[in-house]
């Protein structure tokens, strides 16, 4: 269950009311294609590159980027899945349970890891993900790719690859899927 869904689940969550379609499915695909090219350009190829999708929003995006890389470079980049529930720091804020599988392909020592997530907001998920990755070995470098950077950072974290910079109000909600990006509000039931 993504953060988005967790916030919307009864009895205490609200209902997501979409307001503006910011990106269409085609826009998302174009952004992912661009990010894939940027990854190749910035790292001068795909040696040692591993994509790690954050559960659950980042996973389909990571697989889509891998598919583009396969197409343009002819290289099959391994894709890992990571659930960061055990590394979260939101003590007293909400019950935290793992939602989905973690599956990291092999030892990350010496690899170049590209973390992929749907929305970059406070940065706390990314902080947790960095701690989690350290338990799989010392990566040569970690880079961050996100579909939407919505601002409101609470930690010194910045993305390396961004689909769309999107200033938001803190109480708004951003919904990202391969079908597009929608900005809306969470209203109480």
């Amino acid at each position: 269950m993504a953060e988005r869904e967790r916030r919307l689940t009864p009895p205490r969550g609200g209902v997501f009311v979409p307001r503006v379609q910011v990106l269409t499915a085609q826009d998302v695909q174009r952004a992912l294609t661009r990010i894939a090219h940027e990854i190749v350009e910035r790292n001068r190829g795909l040696d040692d590159v591993v994509l790690v999708g954050l559960q659950t929003g980042g996973v389909p995006l990571a697989f889509r980027i891998a598919a583009v890389l396969q197409e343009v470079e002819g290289v099959s980049v391994p894709v890992g899945l990571l659930d960061v529930a055990f590394y979260r720091d939101d003590i007293g804020i909400r019950p935290v349970l793992p939602e989905a599988a973690t599956d990291i392909p092999g030892d990350l020592a010496g690899r170049l890891v590209v973390l992929v997530d749907d929305v970059l907001f406070t940065g706390r998920t990314v902080r947790a993900a960095l701690n989690a990755l350290a338990d799989y070995g010392r990566a040569r470098a970690v880079q961050l790719a996100v579909m939407v950077d919505r601002g409101h950072r609470e930690l010194p974290i910045r993305p390396d690859y961004v689909g769309k910079n999107m200033p938001t109000r803190i109480d708004e909600q951003v919904d990202v899927s391969l079908d597009g990006v929608v900005l809306g509000d969470v209203v109480p039931r």
Partner: protein
């Protein structure tokens, strides 16, 4: 209730597997999957319970349960204090209550309690603020053993069907034929296991010498009781052997251990009566040559060591759910995943 406040759920302790219900059991198994993955890592440790203290209070001998709980707590980065009744002030005559309250005053988040008296963990739960996990009380219950047994069954069945474990719910227990053999009277493992399997929809048959049946089976979700192991084995998907609890006087309920072995021991001849894909399980410690023959215990269909390995992950799940970030999601609460819409929650 203000947003950001965690709802108090009833499952603050794990005293009986019956408190969990089918949904609660499924949730524990699901969270255990994540901890099995943690166990496979280069560094099999997560920081979830940093700064929490777990005390293991064992008033009865134990190897696997105590070490399994301690390993689980350490892999969650909790601090662990160990406390044996024979090495503590209890030997000087201090009452259990005074001892527990003294230890609790040092700041303890969870007690893992094993005690020869049924109900002792429930009593401890009334005395202290901390979460209490029953690690076996008298003839009553041993809930984490039942949970890890269910986990092992589900793991093996998922593997056989070629399904990913995280996709496997608890549907595999529906109609599963489980034969529980042996000393049901003195077995807390049997009670917890039968309650858990019953809640999940399995069909449980007890094969027990008449003298080792509990005084009443009221409330036990059991399909049949038999004295004929040979017949029962032919229709078993799982054969679960209980330890003959001679230290609880099981020997005096039987003419002789040899006779018990002849009627109820899983010998090589009997193991051949099992369907090809049946599992053989035992909670340990095994009395080789009594309830299980030496060569049967080491057959590939025997998953005894897999049970032990899963024990750590399942106990990590239980401790994590009772104590995890946010004070624990609690056990047996379907609402555990329904976090409040906290402002400032990370968007992804």
């Amino acid at each position: 209730m203000s947003p950001g406040e965690v709802p108090k759920v009833p499952g603050r302790h794990l005293l009986s597997v019956a408190d969990l219900g089918a949904e609660g059991i499924e949730e524990v198994l699901h969270v255990s999957d994540a901890f099995v993955e943690v166990g496979r890592r280069a560094i099999p440790k997560v920081p979830s319970l940093r700064g929490r203290t777990v005390v293991t209070l064992f008033a009865e001998q134990s190897t696997r349960t105590r070490l399994s709980f301690e390993t689980a707590a350490k892999r969650l980065s909790a601090d662990v204090m160990t406390f044996g009744v024979d090495t503590s002030s209890v030997a000087k005559g201090e009452s259990l209550r005074d001892t527990v309250e003294t230890v609790a005053a040092m700041g303890v988040d969870a007690f893992v309690v094993r005690h020869p008296a049924a109900g002792a963990p429930a009593a401890v739960a009334r005395w202290v603020e901390a979460a209490v996990v029953n690690a076996g009380d008298g003839w009553h219950e041993h809930p984490t053993q039942a949970l890890l047994d269910c986990y092992t069954i589900r793991q093996v069945l998922a593997e056989r069907r070629g399904r990913r474990l995280e996709d496997e719910g608890v549907g595999c227990f529906e109609g599963l034929r489980v034969t529980v053999v042996g000393d049901v009277r003195h077995s807390r493992v049997a009670r917890s296991l039968v309650l858990a399997l019953g809640a999940l929809g399995a069909v449980v048959t007890l094969v027990v010498p008449g003298s080792l049946l509990p005084p009443s089976l009221e409330g036990w979700p059991v399909a049949a009781v038999s004295h004929d192991l040979d017949t029962a084995l032919g229709t078993s998907d799982v054969c679960y052997l209980l330890r003959l609890q001679t230290e609880r006087g099981a020997g005096s309920f039987l003419p002789s251990v040899r006779e018990y072995c002849a009627g109820f021991g899983l010998t090589a001849r009997r193991a051949a009566l099992l369907p090809d894909d049946a599992l053989v399980m035992h909670p340990g410690p095994m009395n080789r040559g009594v309830e299980i023959a030496d060569d049967v215990a080491d057959l590939p269909r025997s998953v005894v060591l897999q049970q032990v390995a899963n024990g750590v992950a399942v106990r990590m799940a239980v401790l994590f759910m009772l104590l995890g970030p946010s004070g624990g999601a609690g056990l047996g609460s379907a609402a555990a995943l329904d976090g409040p819409a906290a402002p400032g929650a990370d968007g992804g």
